[in-house]
Amino acid sequence: MSWTKLALKAHIPGAILLIIFAAIALPAQIDPDPNSPVPILLSSEKDPVRVLALPLTAAMPDGDVEPQNAFLLGDTIRAYVSGIELIPGEGAGAFRIYATDGKKHMYRFPVVAVSEVKAKSPTYELRFTIRDEIGFWEQPSEDGDLLIMVTWRGLASNQLLLGVGKTGGLKIRRDSNESSKFGGGAQPEDYVGYRWSGDRVRFLEQATFGPNDALDQRIRRIGIRAWLAEQFQAPYPSASNPYPDIPLMPANINSGCPQNRGTPESNLCIRTHYSLYPLQIWFFKEAFYGDTQLRHRVAWALSQLWVTSFPTIQQSSHMIAYHKILSQNAFGNYRTLMKDMTLNPAMGDYLDMARSTKNSPNENYAREVLQLFTIGLFMLNPDGTYQLDINNEPIPTYDQDTVNNFTKVFTGWTFCNTGCPNSTLGAVNYKDPLVLNQNNHDVNSKSLLSYPNAVNPTIPSGQNGNAELDLALDNIFHHPNVGPFVSKFLIQHLVTSDPTPAYVGRVAAVFNDNGQGIRGDLKSVVRAILLDPEARGDIKTDPNYGKLREPVQMTTNFYRQFNVTSADGTQQSDGYVSPLPTLMSQTPFSAPTVFNYYPPNYVVPGTTLLAPEFGLMNTGSSIARVNIATFMSFSSVTVDNRNPPNAPMGTSIDISALTQVAQNDPTANQLLNELNYKMMHGTMSQQMRDSILTAVLSVPQTSPDVRVRTALFLIASSSQYQIQR
């Protein structure tokens, strides 16, 4: 039975409902199998452990060729892969060639061209240069074999030997050629929407604050595309969890709150107005229970791009007004976000634009809006890689003079303390956009960013500051860097730390033009990120694919998966869990600087891995993560006895269903099966499973809940889980 018939039967009532359903469900039909049908295979020689490689000049391999065994550094050579199928435009940037030497140093060789050499059983020729492009280690020495591997869309090929200088010297472990440990088994016939179960969980890790059974079932029924369409239109925040409505208060706490400190009235007043508490508990409640997960998630990602931070920004109402800008624009146009955020008072305070005047200009916002929020420091290719000059050096996007000119553009803006809807006597207005005082605006001419076909590269003198702001933001917005810059940032936050240039390029192309001639459409960008073949699939085998779960995600993913509830299990959590990510070095909405909690170019010490979130992973925080895993598995956030309590209801997990599973199956195999699916989308290795099973079985069968909690802890604290891939 086809899925459409099933759907029609189930949804006869109400013509309108039917139309809506058809409109959103239709795309589910076209969700392709996200998995590679066969493993990627790097062709070998007659010697099956050695890669078939040819110099550029040699004839095509045809039958029994005698390939060259060893090459020199700097040689560009050809190798052959099968088991892949390219989509239009997918070329060299979709592939990476990794090489490892006997010292276990990893190198990456640039792929310079890809072409199809055999159409029938598709085989592609990869041309690549034997030269490390990462630069962490010195170039490999020409003294023997390297072990090389091709990756594509998060999948890894077999690994074969390549002689450099000469052959020999490296022992190879026989590697299985399987590229997927998952799937292969028959899927039940009744999957109508999105049948790839591992990928459903993976998708939910990327698009929400954590998978749970309800969402998994929903995606299974309606498919990813339909769910995305729903999410793009869903109201936000949830009706039951509106943004806290908190008034603007005097800057001085002593004027705003009762001065008899320590009394319940004073505590409540300070917590409500002068702390992050209201925003944080609202944020976590929405993450735990909100239906509009994707907007919440994208807004959270954007808060790590356009950073402002408590306690520099001192009032909850200020930070909430800032968050509204993020969430309102999460599926809107990036140009609108740029202007709304430029005029957001919290940003104006945080980066000093609100106090920059023609006579005493402040460069802070001008510099960071370029460097951090829009174009970055170096000229980018459309796929996010650096453009290089003739000396192989990256090319700066602007210089100090440019910053000085933009500084002049941004002069004259200030808080709207009178005459705006939220202007409040005795308080600074952080709710309405900044307003211009033309008298403080520098009206000299300005030279802005110059780039090919630049929009508004110069501004003549004598302009009104309002008009000039739009001209200048257009100048930035149309810079060719913005698409790849923003696209790569969002990919890193949602999917994987080190996306291929091909992936960045596909998404950036959508940023540049959403198909209807519109630049900067974030809705289309988010859709492109989440539907990309590099994001999708039941399993990713590329050893450099994935990302560390940031502390906030680690917290919400765990709680959501296990039916987060109040401490006594009778009602919803109050959302007071921010101490958990704080202990792991990430206090929501309190990044240490405008550079966020971690730099976007962080490389794990001692490795070549690009991994922003690892900026928060060190010996101390790694143990904090273990301790938080222990806490969430075995304990709960209890109702505290402060007056008023920070946790009026508390937070805990509800594992009754899993406890039943553990009770019914003394072998604990079913428990492990369930957790393998829920937490690791089916990728748990046999060794991992065996080890956890041993620990679980050490718990008496009479304590099935301890068995469950033991397993939860061991998975949640494992690196295998903490790396989302």
Partner: protein, 493 residues
Amino acid sequence: MKESRREFIKKAGCAMGMVTLASQVEHFGRMTALAQKVDGGKRRRARLGSNYKALVCVFLAGGNDGNNTIVPIHNDASVSNYSVYSAARAPFGLAIAQNQLLPVSVPSIGNLSYGLNPAFGPQANGNNGIHELWAQGKLAFATNVGTLVSPMTKAQYQNNSVAKPYQLFSHLDQVVQYQAGRSDTFSFTGWGGRVSDNMSETSNPNGLVPMITSIDGSQLFTAGQTTQPLAIADSNTPLNQVLNPIGFGDDPVSQARLQSFNELRAVDRDNGYVDAASAITDSAMAANAALATFQDVTAPFPNTSVGRQLKQVARLIKKQADLNIDRQIFYVERGGFDTHNNQLGAQTNNLGEVSQAVRAFYDEMVLQGMASDVTVFMMTDFGRTMNPAGTGGAVGSDHGWGNHMFVLGDSVNGGNFYGVNTSNGTPFPNLLIDGPDDATNNTANARGRWIPTTSVEQYAATLARWYGLAEEDMTAVFPNIGSFPSSDLGFML
């Protein structure tokens, strides 16, 4: 029989190291600290006698305003005097009054009088601060230090005939260059990490913790090619708790869980990220075993972030003999120096905390008998513009370049300024906006950003040499040091 915790971890650690070494293809790119120990233990030179030395980096994050850290008090017109300073800053409300500055006499500038920020003086309910250590010869400043590719004049700055450090005035990039100890190209490693790469095997062959420790999270400064730095919390957490996983009792169920927890880190390391995370946790568990006991410090430390960080450093130094280490490098950080606004109050407060904490640390080193073996040095993002940003109560300053760094300890040749001379023939810059030391292309944009005369790597190399880095290894650690005339500024005895 139940093994002691330390034995267990040691064995687990060794087992993991073997696994790591044995798997030819599963492990990319990194030798873990544990693997190094297994690998290198037999081939090391004999351990030197007990000659402990430590470097403690205090990073003033955000870019400390050097122009209000050291101010000329003198009225000598031949070099920039107080009037030059006051003319630039007083109209905006950013000048410190001449009579509030804490005077120091500078032999290298004809014993002229300069003044330190008042925050370096005594504080009520605190200690005497670091100013008085100048007269005792324990405190020196390296002046007009900054990121450079090679020495550069103003003319060369303007005509681009000499390469500039990449992305001048940008926080992230300038922090990276200070911490990396090079500005000619991007670096994956910090100079502390490279010193550690270079010296760990010879100096700490049987060290129970890595050579390098951050009390402020992950920092490029601490990252080497092979060094896996330790990062722990400040003294609010006792040393024996900083890396201790909670919730494991002695009961068999707990122990089974602990065993599985340890086993899981040894498997599935074919993914680079999983491998990296497990390696960090391995390192933490090994260090945890080594930190099971400790003695607290004697001197009173201020209960500020930087005070607690330095207190934790002092605890580790007190334990150095137990940890089998002869050389240690530490990183602590005090943020809040990006004073685009409200600078006067904020910088005074921040520098006051730093001065109080560093002085407490120095006093503790004296009590431990380590004051000659431990050198505290400062780094920061960059200097700030002489020309203020904003005005009145909200006045601040913008991102600059050349800046002044304090160095402190009994091995410091204190009581002087050090560094390569500026245009005025002294190590202290000419403070004239649009003057000969101001990095600007035209008068209209001149803000008073001093072109450094002394490079970060000259400053760092001077410290590393004292620490014991061999001459022949200097260029391996500081690849661009050859671009500068000297690798020893002379401030270390």
